[in-house]
């Protein structure tokens, strides 16, 4: 337990919070979508929250915590689902929510502080020059850009632009080290991989340059199909149409669309498998041609409902990615989910095989994306949870079918990701966080270099048991 009083005294002038219930609130994210993480992490809390206003403040916090050997866990808006921003070892939560300045906007590029909410960035870039970010998570209205880069992978927009891991989707990251005298430097090109999706374990992102693309008045379109295979094939076809500009193409199998999309429920039949899309206005005629060819039922177009009705509906992107899970959880708290990659070119066959195998226990939910130059789909299937063992079995069956699972029931980078250590990130951490104080317990390779990631056993951070 750090000497909070001494720490607070040294951080005078920076906004601090030590009230336990408020600190705990700022120590949580949406880890509870996973019953496993819920069991493991529900008690987790930091000891103090610091909310800097500037890079100079961040530097002071890091230097002070370095001196006192206090762990620092960086937090954006806390909208992650992997416990990314949860301070497993306690210590200080570095809340960047008030570093929200959008510093410059030019053609194709925005420079912003890390705490800016993605929707706020888009509002400013739209007003400035009709531009918007290429991609955002379904938590567009609540997530911060820094949290997205540090803990996200892609989302709405990935059907056109691929994921955050793809070169060019982050232009520059300014990073501060955790040292006696914190240094900052700019990473560009492939060097950005050193800190992107590293959960803040090896540096604090204090500024980001992100690519922009043209903003449009995206139209929400929902199309219904009798057969899941037809819905999946239609979604795949649309996503492969190079000339049709969509920002989102998802498939949600029956009965989830009808049962869980409550405010859209009256548009959707109980047995309909739905494709949810965001379509550029000028692409609607082309999409309509393909809906006709696929004999789909056009259930909903946001440009064809009255403004008064539209105001009662969530945007369609809040039916996709992990908002699908959230909507299911609101109706049925026993539901949980997986994150699956169905690799090209057999992705549709794998989807069909797994859907047949699990029946109603696992409800298909696909997110079409560009991945290494081709279109394939991720899945965030809804799982009717019975036990942790059965959940592990379901994961294992997916992987045996050749579909890697990015396990959302694990809080470490390796186990939630590719099941291997990112040597670039590990190496970077040696220089940027020599004491290992940044977000302890999230990078297995740092804490336990000999842990065998290929075995079935989950790694447990010793600090969690305090």
């Amino acid at each position: 337990m750090p000497d909070l009083e001494a720490l607070a005294a040294e951080l005078e002038g920076i906004k601090l919070e030590t009230h336990p219930s408020l600190v705990k609130q700022k120590s949580r994210d949406f880890f509870w979508y996973s019953p496993v993480l819920k069991r493991q992490l529900d008690h987790v809390t930091g000891d103090i929250v610091a909310t800097p206003k500037s890079e100079a403040d961040v530097s002071r916090v890091l230097a002070t915590c370095f001196r006192h050997d206090v762990a620092v866990t960086v937090r954006g808006a806390g909208t992650g689902n992997y416990g990314q921003a949860m301070p497993l070892a306690g210590g200080l939560v570095l809340n960047l929510a008030e570093m929200t300045a959008v510093k410059s906007i030019e053609p194709g590029l925005v420079v912003t502080e890390p705490g800016a909410i993605i929707a706020d960035i888009d509002r400013q870039t739209r007003a400035d020059s009709g531009q918007e970010l290429r991609m955002h998570p379904s938590t567009h209205r609540t997530a911060s850009i820094g949290g997205f880069v540090a803990g996200g992978s892609g989302g709405i927009g990935s059907v056109r632009w691929g994921g955050l891991r793809d070169l060019g989707n982050i232009v520059r990251a300014k990073v501060m080290t955790m040292e006696a005298e914190p240094r900052t430097f700019d990473l560009v090109g492939e060097d950005i991989h050193k800190v992107s999706h590293a959960y803040g374990t090896n540096g604090v992102i204090t500024e980001l340059a992100m690519p922009l693309t043209a903003a449009y008045d995206w139209v929400d379109v929902i199309v219904g199909f009798e057969a899941l295979s037809t819905a999946s094939a239609f979604a795949d076809m649309i996503a492969n149409e190079d000339g049709i500009l969509t920002k989102e193409v998802a498939v949600v199998a029956a009965p989830a669309g009808h049962d869980y999309f409550l405010r859209h429920q009256h548009f959707i039949g109980a047995q309909q498998h739905v494709v949810v899309m965001l379509v550029a206005p000028f692409a609607l005629d082309a999409v309509a041609s393909l809906v006709g060819r696929a004999r789909g039922a056009l259930l909903f177009r946001s440009d064809r409902v009255a403004e008064s009705e539209r105001a009662t509906l969530p945007p369609a992107y809040e039916l996709t990615w992990n908002h699908t899970t959230l909507r299911a959880l609101r109706v049925d708290p026993t539901v949980t989910y997986l994150q699956v990659l169905y690799p090209y070119p057999d992705h549709l066959a794998k989807v069909a095989a797994l859907a047949d195998r699990f029946g109603d226990e696992v409800i298909t939910h696909l997110e079409f994306v560009r991945f290494d130059g081709t279109v394939t789909c991720f899945g965030l299937p809804l799982v009717r949870f019975t036990s942790e063992d059965r959940l592990e079995e379901i994961v294992a069956i997916h992987e045996a079918e050749g579909c890697p699972v990015f396990n959302p029931h694990r809080y470490t980078l390796e186990e939630g990701g590719m099941k291997r250590t990112d040597e670039v990130q590990l190496d970077f951490k040696r220089g940027s966080d020599p004491k290992g104080l940044l977000n302890p317990g999230k990078m297995v390779a740092w804490d336990d270099p000999d842990f065998d990631l290929s075995q079935k056993k989950t790694w447990l951070f010793p600090g969690l048991q305090r």
Copy 2:
């Protein structure tokens, strides 16, 4: 021979030209890149040129020609290479070069008359709202948008957006019929295929709605490689990077880059195979990472040469597509070319096999494009022409290797294209051009329904022999 005096009298008020040498000038395109077409078409000329200013003028011309049974061949800027706009049966050349109005610009969409030069459209959409057309031929500065839609297939921009044939790359086409009382109607969605790339054989495009995308100050980048296979693999890798925004990725094998790109010659080694790219400014660091990874030599970046030097260089897009051929022809008039598709996923292997097979007789030139959702390459290889028989042999060898040739040594839609009749276009022509007066001799299926396109013999339009 039509009664030109009567025709001219009835068209009073519309700009007409009957001077033979001026008519012949407006009856030609860049067919002469092909020694075969040069032999077949060099004598071709219309009898009269009409240059309407408005849709009402077009309607008068069509109705009058219909009454007089005069053939009408529609022409934009005459920058095609397949003899698309050459009046094989004589008659009237309908020159749309003065219908250039850009009627409206909104987010993602421009509405324009068909004769507008593509660079002029881009200039206006850039000034209006920082937008530009998705794609253009290498004749950006001279080609008309209507000619591109009626006779082109794609070009610079296709690496991101696919081809004109792809749904969504033309939003709406207004078409006028060739009847006693010409009708107009709007085609949208897949109905646009009825008239796109139909060489004006089944209707006159009087207005187009085209999608726009964000305009950037594209940076010309040329990278050199010692081995052709490395250059091709690098180009393929860049084109598959979903997050790296490029507008053009081409490969030109040695010694063509050095020998034919005269104004860039001092940047390029005699033995260097070059990759020519247009890159968004904010993607340059990402591209630089990949150049380093591939051990390419960065030969040229337009943002790193002095303005005074840059002014002496053609834009890099004028080193690509058929401008590569043009530059070769200026140095060596015996060169000609093919248009080849190397189908995914074996495209690079096919490129290598054909390069090995032909050696210096056929110089590799690749254009990377998105095609049905994946990245592959077209080729416009430079062929050291010896005889028409050998040229046919070279075509046959490509096709035997599984690489379809869109034969630029044929003037008909079928033989220059997919070697089959487009039944949709043929059927449309029955209603829109009942007398068969529009661009006679270009649609084999209309003139000679029984001609067997699978045989080796070239179809000859009887009207050509007059």
